[in-house]
């Protein structure tokens, strides 16, 4: 049965429906345009675009594998650094600090997310890159030099530096989602653990970390989604050289960074189209990663409400 609306309600309803539709249409339009723009490159290279690792604008030959590699490696590495840090910070603020101090610390962590990407890039270029070149890279080489990841010498900019910058940028996301997940655990369960003679550390392990596993996973995937698409800061410190190297000291390029760097100077139509194709790939990947994260977080919050 249709509920009869008053005149005023009808106007409001129409307006609401219009704006909601606009948002949905925007998404569809962007996907469609991206698709059309990359059609030329798609017709030329097909799906082998994803598996070819040469990128040569001079000869109009394009393959995106090096960028996919750069994006995946920097993002995963960033996650490996940021994940543990974020989980520790979330536990420390929630469980070990008085509420007032915890909220101040939480605010500081979230303020990291407010720093513009370009500022991170500049900081990375002027402070982090020299630090990696002069201290971190020699240190890693000295102690872990037998691994293929730490071969050659570092010029400061490269995969490792980009990953560290990314890690710092996704810490606020992961930390705040983890804090929410941990907050949803009833006090009663923490007391159950303490009441059995668990130390605080054991209580964290049994009553907090174990039941939060899927929630933490969701937070990590959400962080991953952010890391995959991050452009400016990465473009400034990664070196922008589309090579696939096992060494983390080597320069690289990501899907996002190549678009930022080359779009303004692309003069052939195929080059432009290839960049759009890269953009389409990036969109598809981040879309599914975000979808996955939301599903995990949503399932988790539904479960903890029961």
């Amino acid at each position: 049965m249709k509920i009869p609306y008053s005149k005023q309600d009808q106007y409001v309803y129409t307006a609401l429906r219009f704006f909601s539709l606009v948002v949905v249409c925007l998404l569809i339009a962007i996907i469609f345009q991206l698709f059309m723009a990359s059609k030329l490159a798609f017709d030329e290279f097909g799906l082998s675009f994803v598996t070819d690792d040469f990128w040569n604008p001079v000869d109009d030959e394009f393959g995106a594998l090096a960028f996919i590699f750069g994006t995946v490696v920097t993002s995963i590495l960033a996650l490996l650094i940021a994940g543990p840090v974020s989980v520790f910070v979330a536990i420390y603020t929630n469980e070990f600090l008085p509420k007032k101090i915890a909220s101040v610390l939480g605010l500081f962590v979230e303020l990291i997310a407010a720093i513009p990407s370009i500022v991170f890039g500049l900081w990375g270029l002027y402070y982090l890159a020299p630090f990696v070149k002069n201290f971190l890279a020699p240190f890693l080489k000295k102690y872990l030099g037998f691994l293929p990841f730490f071969q050659g010498s570092s010029f400061g900019i490269g995969i490792l530096t980009a990953a560290i910058i990314l890690a710092i940028m996704i810490i606020p996301t992961i930390t705040s989602v983890c804090r929410e997940v941990f907050k949803s655990i009833p006090n009663l369960r923490k007391e159950a653990a303490l009441g059995l003679g668990a130390t605080k550390y054991e209580m964290v392990k049994i009553a907090i970390l174990k039941p939060s596993f899927s929630g933490i996973m969701g937070a990590l995937v959400l962080g991953l989604g952010r890391a995959l698409g991050e452009t400016m800061a990465v473009a400034m410190v990664i070196g922008n050289n589309p090579v696939i190297s096992s060494s983390l000291f080597s320069a690289g390029a990501t899907m996002a960074s190549v678009m930022a760097n080359e779009y303004a100077e692309a003069d052939s139509e195929l080059h432009l189209s290839a960049l759009c194709y890269v953009g389409l790939l990036l969109f598809v990947v981040t879309f599914f990663v975000n979808l996955m994260a939301r599903t995990i977080v949503w399932n988790n919050s539904r479960k903890s409400k029961r």
């Binding site: 009663l188 369960r189 007391e191 159950a192 009441g195 059995l196 003679g197 049994i206 174990k210 039941p211």
Partner: protein, 254 residues
């Protein structure tokens, strides 16, 4: 006669910040008895019992003054470790709180595992033993590896009792253990208390006077953080010395 004393409370005060929630309590608990604590809501009975295993102090801004003597030692002494205290004084909470994403077996054995018991046969023995004592064995013996939270509320609470029994504490505290349960599950828990007092000393907070009457050997009556009266349950309910106690048990306030 000292060897029959299980726990002695001396001048115990509990605070939330500046607010004094429990005032100068002096009580002695004897071995193998069930001791009920009754009183109107907000009388500090939960806070009081939470002082007895040092879990009160885990709340932010909460503090305790006074002594609680267990086996000749003050659990609030400078050098006493709260973690150690809680291994000797177990606690069952108001709502069943088994650990989710842990099987029934893991829930029961978590205490012994925390102190390094790894022997599988030993752990299985403990599980069977404690679940039997908690009158849950017959209902769960074929599904020990299911999630603890898959059980009904009453079963979960008995699982929590088994979990506490597994650490084999001489004293077991229960904070309104049946307030979230239906009458049938309540009867089972009450029978259980009667059974386990053969080996343990039980101190139980209850909002239900009839329950105190049914299960307790001794009853204490609290109002606004003060201990009004303590004595044999039969005396408290039939022949109270204090006017306030009489008013409360006859339903005139509370």
């Amino acid at each position: 006669m000292t060897n029959t004393i299980a726990l002695e409370v001396k001048n115990l005060n509990a605070y939330f910040g500046d607010f004094r929630a429990v005032k100068d309590i002096n009580l002695t608990y004897h071995k193998n008895t069930v001791n009920a604590i009754i009183g109107p809501s907000g009388c500090g009975k939960s806070t009081y019992i939470r002082c007895l295993n040092r879990i009160h102090e885990e709340v932010e801004d909460a503090s305790v003054k006074g002594e609680v003597i267990l086996g000749g030692k003050n659990i609030y002494a400078e050098n006493a470790d709260p973690v150690e205290v809680r291994k000797h004084i177990g606690m069952v909470f108001q709502k069943p709180n088994p650990f989710p994403s842990m099987s029934i077996f893991d829930n029961v054995t978590i205490g012994p595992k925390l102190w390094g018991e790894k022997d599988r046969t030993k752990l299985e023995e403990i599980t069977e033993n404690c679940l039997k004592k908690a009158a849950l064995w017959d209902e769960v013996k074929d599904k020990l590896h299911q999630d603890g939270t898959s059980l009904s509320g009453g079963q979960q609470q008995r699982l929590c009792i088994a979990r506490t029994l597994a650490i084999d504490p001489p004293i077991i505290l229960m904070d309104e253990p049946t307030s979230a349960l239906d009458p049938i599950a309540t009867v089972k828990i009450e029978d259980l208390m009667n059974e386990i007092k053969k080996e343990y000393t039980v101190i139980v907070v209850t909002h239900n006077m009839q329950q105190a009457r049914r299960i307790a050997d001794y009853t204490s009556f609290f109002v606004l953080g003060d201990l009004i009266e303590h004595g044999l349950t039969s005396d408290i309910f039939t022949n109270p010395k204090e006017k306030k106690t009489e008013d409360y048990i006859s339903g005139n306030f509370g």
